[in-house]
């Protein structure tokens, strides 16, 4: 009994220590935003890698999700003769929830893993130490550009994903469910509010911060060898995904009550 409680206590302490380390890492990252120097070349490279090159996967995910959502809402709405709500629910569902969450998860899979693997390999091969000896702070050179690029590009990715998702729903609505195309578009525009779009983009920014932060944190703390880098990559994706879903609930509560 004492042994089990001891193990539980150790696990809780270890978890709290991990949370503390992540919070300190995040605070350090944000602090560097205000400190000289800034590396624009690394920032723009990260912007292309994280934002531009994630567009196909986010776009495809949103497109098929929008189409499937239209079919599901139509089937559900038909049970109480509410098929007409398809355009508005697709739009609101995509913009407020599915666009940011699925976009965030897809970027987590694509970006958190690649950042963790890249930085983890740099650590294992002493490239991080080399940066320090060359008077370059790894937090400034590696972490800040990636976290900033992800935080700024995810809202745009989410907005583009929202539009593609709504278009997916529109195609299914018009071609498969026999909606009038003008009426579908009018319904979409009439029911969608600015706050819906903004709340989804704010979620995108938070998810972007989480994704890059987890990639960098786990990469910087990678263990030795191929196994260490593999473990760091896995941890980055799992942590980013769980934190996206948890913070999504918290943000939804905030937007819902405000």
């Amino acid at each position: 009994m004492t042994g089990a409680l001891g193990a539980l206590g150790s696990a809780v302490l270890a978890m709290l220590a991990s949370i503390g380390r992540v919070v300190i890492f995040a605070a350090n990252t944000v602090k560097h935003l205000a400190l000289h120097p800034f590396y624009p070349r690394e920032f723009f490279q990260a912007l292309v890698q994280i934002g531009w090159l994630s567009l196909p996967v986010v776009g495809l995910t949103a497109f098929f999700t929008g189409g499937a959502l239209a079919l599901q809402i139509y089937a559900g709405g038909a049970r109480f003769s509410a098929e007409a709500v398809v355009p508005s629910i697709v739009a609101i569902g995509m913009v407020r929830e599915l666009g940011p969450v699925l976009g965030g998860l897809m970027v987590a899979a694509r970006v958190a893993s690649s950042i963790a693997a890249e930085i983890g390999t740099m650590k294992v091969t002493e490239q991080i130490d080399a940066l320090v000896t060359l008077s370059t702070d790894p937090m400034k050179y590696l972490t800040l550009p990636r976290v900033l690029a992800a935080t700024l590009s995810l809202p745009i990715l989410v907005a583009v994903g929202d539009a593609i998702g709504i278009f997916g729903g529109f195609l299914v609505g018009v071609n498969r469910l026999d909606f009038n195309s003008a009426a579908y578009l009018k319904n979409t525009v009439d029911f969608l509010e600015t706050a819906d779009v903004v709340s989804g983009m704010v979620k995108g920014a938070v998810f972007g911060f989480i994704v890059a932060l987890m990639g960098c944190y786990h990469g910087m703390n990678s263990g030795r060898g191929a196994q260490g880098v593999g473990r760091a990559t896995k941890s980055a994706v799992v942590a980013a995904s769980v934190l996206i879903l948890a913070s999504n609930y918290i943000l939804t509560e905030v937007f819902f009550t405000s």
Binding site: Y39, M122, Q127, D129, L134, S135, T136
Partner: protein, 248 residues
């Protein structure tokens, strides 16, 4: 001059450095020898501030490194890492000129490239290597590029971490000769860690042997063979029998 006083460092229960005292004179080439896992790399990384010692003092020209301005301190150092540690994402010339393109030593891009190419020539590589990426180079070429990076900003102090590991004997000889030449030409203070005795005899003015977390013996390289120390005698002659346990 670099001076280490009572340096201690433990990792958990493992006391890697247990009171290291050592002086390296300005312009001299000191080689630290010792078996694998005896803390040679920890010692070197402690001086550079990559590892924080638990106890003890590190003085460079009489100044405690923990109190020195970090940027100015690091600007005096060059380091050749064991595996090269070249940045995969940058072409060779940008690796060499890395320090010259950022921070206090920043130069115009063209000038930084010219210096990188000159350093490439200095280590025996042609300018056509400049635009290649590290992954496209052989192990020996990577080591030379790393050496070029270490000397690019004309440092006063250069550290070499296992400079010949993973190289064939001929390439090891080339690297050893290059290191000796560069150190003499630049008048730099050098600190090398290795267990390659050919490197020791080529590079060293003085040697120090690290064993059980302390300096077991130190002196001029010429005195090494007649040191009368059983530990160093076993090590330099590569004998399995002796005071150092073969399986640690």
């Amino acid at each position: 001059m670099i001076e280490l006083r009572g340096l201690h460092k433990s990792f958990g229960q493992n006391n890697v450095l247990a009171g290291v005292d050592l002086s390296i004179e300005r312009g001299k080439s000191m080689v630290i020898i010792g078996g694998s896992g005896t803390g040679k790399s920890v010692l070197l990384k402690s001086i550079l501030g990559l590892i924080t010692p638990d106890q003890g003092q590190i003085l460079v020209d009489g100044q405690d490194v923990t109190q020195a301005d970090r940027d100015a301190f690091l600007a005096r150092f060059g380091m050749l890492f064991q595996g090269g540690a070249l940045f995969d994402s940058l072409p060779v010339w940008q690796n060499i000129a890395f320090r010259l393109m950022r921070g206090s030593l920043k130069r115009p891009k063209d000038e930084a490239r010219d210096i990188a190419i000159e350093k490439l020539r200095r280590v025996g590589l042609k300018s056509d290597v400049a635009d290649r990426f590290p992954a496209e180079l052989s192990g020996g070429m990577q080591k030379r590029v790393s050496l070029a990076r270490a000397i690019a900003a004309e440092p006063e102090i250069i550290f070499f971490d296992e400079p010949t590991t993973g190289l064939d004997p001929i390439m090891s000889g080339v690297i050893n000769d290059l290191i000796r030449e560069i150190v003499v030409d630049m008048g730099a203070t050098a600190m090398t860690i290795t267990h390659d005795m050919t490197s020791v005899r080529t590079i060293a003015d003085d040697i120090a042997m690290l064993h059980a977390g302390r300096i077991q013996w130190t002196g001029p390289v010429g005195d090494m063979d007649q040191s009368g120390d059983r530990y160093i005698d076993q090590f330099i002659n590569g004998r399995a029998e002796g005071p150092i346990e073969a399986i640690r």
